[in-house]
């Protein structure tokens, strides 16, 4: 039991070091200069807004299947010149 606990602790700390490396790496790239960080935030806000818009749009349509104008079978029009 003690050995298992010790092994778990060892793997946890190892994983933390390994997984923490990703965050630390990103930190080193993005958060050294404030100009880079602010650019990252603006870009992230733009991308995030688009993602959220798309997600909510899809959710709306999923919730309102078949009720859109586009879902009506095409109206007949006489196109003559």
């Amino acid at each position: 039991m003690a050995a298992a606990a010790a092994a778990a602790a060892a793997t946890a700390s190892a994983a933390r070091r390994g997984g923490g490396g990703l965050w630390e790496g990103l930190y080193r790239v993005l958060m050294r200069r404030n100009s880079v960080y602010v650019t990252f935030i603006v870009a992230g806000a733009f991308v995030g807004e688009r993602v959220v818009d798309y997600g909510v749009h899809r959710l709306w349509e999923y919730n309102n299947v078949g009720k859109r104008y586009e879902d009506i079978p095409v109206l007949g029009q006489r196109q003559s010149e």
């Binding site: 933390r16 930190y27 992230g44 029009q77 196109q79």
Partner: protein, 314 residues
């Protein structure tokens, strides 16, 4: 084997403040039976005895005075012996004084044992910094010292929040700036200038004027001839083409069906003009109703030509 405390001390008779520092115990073993070793052992023993006597004195005075209120203060000055003769280069002592009646363990380092009872605890804490900090781990566990911190992850969580704030800021700026654009009542009586230079012969352009679409068609000779070769009496709403246009080359009509308000489609219908898909009204190349349920021709708005290529509607 000597259990030794190697600080020299002296007790001054005047009452000054004590700063008894707590360290760890050191076990010093001085073996050998030569004169040097014997001398060392004697001196160590004397030192140890001195400190023990000092501490006994403090204890005694404490119990005698019945508590911390009148603890006599002693000065303990410490000399560091740094030479190799003593075999140890660091100053380490160990003695802690347990005062009666104070058995509870608290998080705050209690400084009563240093004899500072008349100061409030906050002042005493500020004046006596200690490295032995106890953290309250009742609610949150503390990373042990030396653990790699979660700084980067925490910062990225905060960055997520800042994405939202940036989006909000953009929205606020847009709202503030666009609130200065003309309001609906102003637009309801507005005029519109249209540049006609880019409209090809025979093509139709739709512009938004007072919320309504306006069709501007640059008619060909053929269109004009077609518009004029209609029997006026057969029209539901008889109007001569010349009455509807200022310049026969340019037809300007409001693109709202006079039946129920749909927008007719250009280049559709049987009469070379517009066709309304809602109920099937046909308009000709002059915008007059020919077939279908609409009662009137397409409305001609007030317009004028500012110069050769500019049209002012309204």
């Amino acid at each position: 084997m000597l259990r030794a405390l190697f600080l020299r001390h002296f007790i001054s008779t005047s009452a000054i403040y004590v700063n008894l520092v707590m360290f760890e115990a050191l076990e010093i073993s001085i073996g050998g039976n030569d004169a040097e070793a014997r001398r060392k052992r004697t001196i160590w023993a004397l030192m140890a005895a001195d400190v023990r006597r000092l501490c006994l004195l403090l204890e005694e005075s404490c119990t005698r005075s019945g508590g911390l209120a009148h603890l006599r203060r002693f000065r303990v000055s410490v000399h560091l012996s740094n030479t190799s003769r003593w075999g140890c280069k660091r100053l380490i002592t160990a003695y802690s004084i347990d005062f009666p009646g104070y058995a509870s363990e608290t998080l705050v380092p209690r400084h009563q044992d240093l004899g500072l009872a008349d100061l409030p605890a906050t002042v005493a804490a500020v004046k006596n910094p200690t490295s032995k900090i106890t953290y309250d781990e009742h609610n949150h566990e503390r990373y042990p010292p030396g653990d790699p911190s979660k700084r980067a992850f925490a910062y990225f969580v905060l960055t997520g929040g800042r994405f939202v704030y940036a989006s909000l800021l953009r929205l606020l700026i847009l709202k503030l700036v666009l609130s200065m654009s003309p309001s609906k009542d102003v637009l309801a009586l507005a005029s519109l200038e249209v540049d006609l230079s880019n409209i090809a012969l025979g093509s139709t352009v739709t512009v938004k004027w007072r919320g309504k679409p306006v069709f501007i068609r640059r008619r060909t000779e053929q269109d004009i001839k077609l518009a004029n070769t209609v029997d006026i009496s057969s029209l539901r709403d008889p109007q001569v083409d010349a009455d509807r246009v200022k310049n026969p080359e340019w037809l300007v009509v409001v693109g709202v069906c006079t039946h129920l308000g749909c927008i007719p489609l250009p280049n559709a219908g049987d009469f070379g003009g517009w066709f309304c898909p809602c109920h099937g009204s046909h308009y000709d190349i002059s915008g007059r109703i020919r077939r279908g349920p609409a009662p009137f021709n397409l409305e001609v708005p007030q317009y004028s030509f500012l110069d050769e290529n500019k049209l002012l509607i309204g």
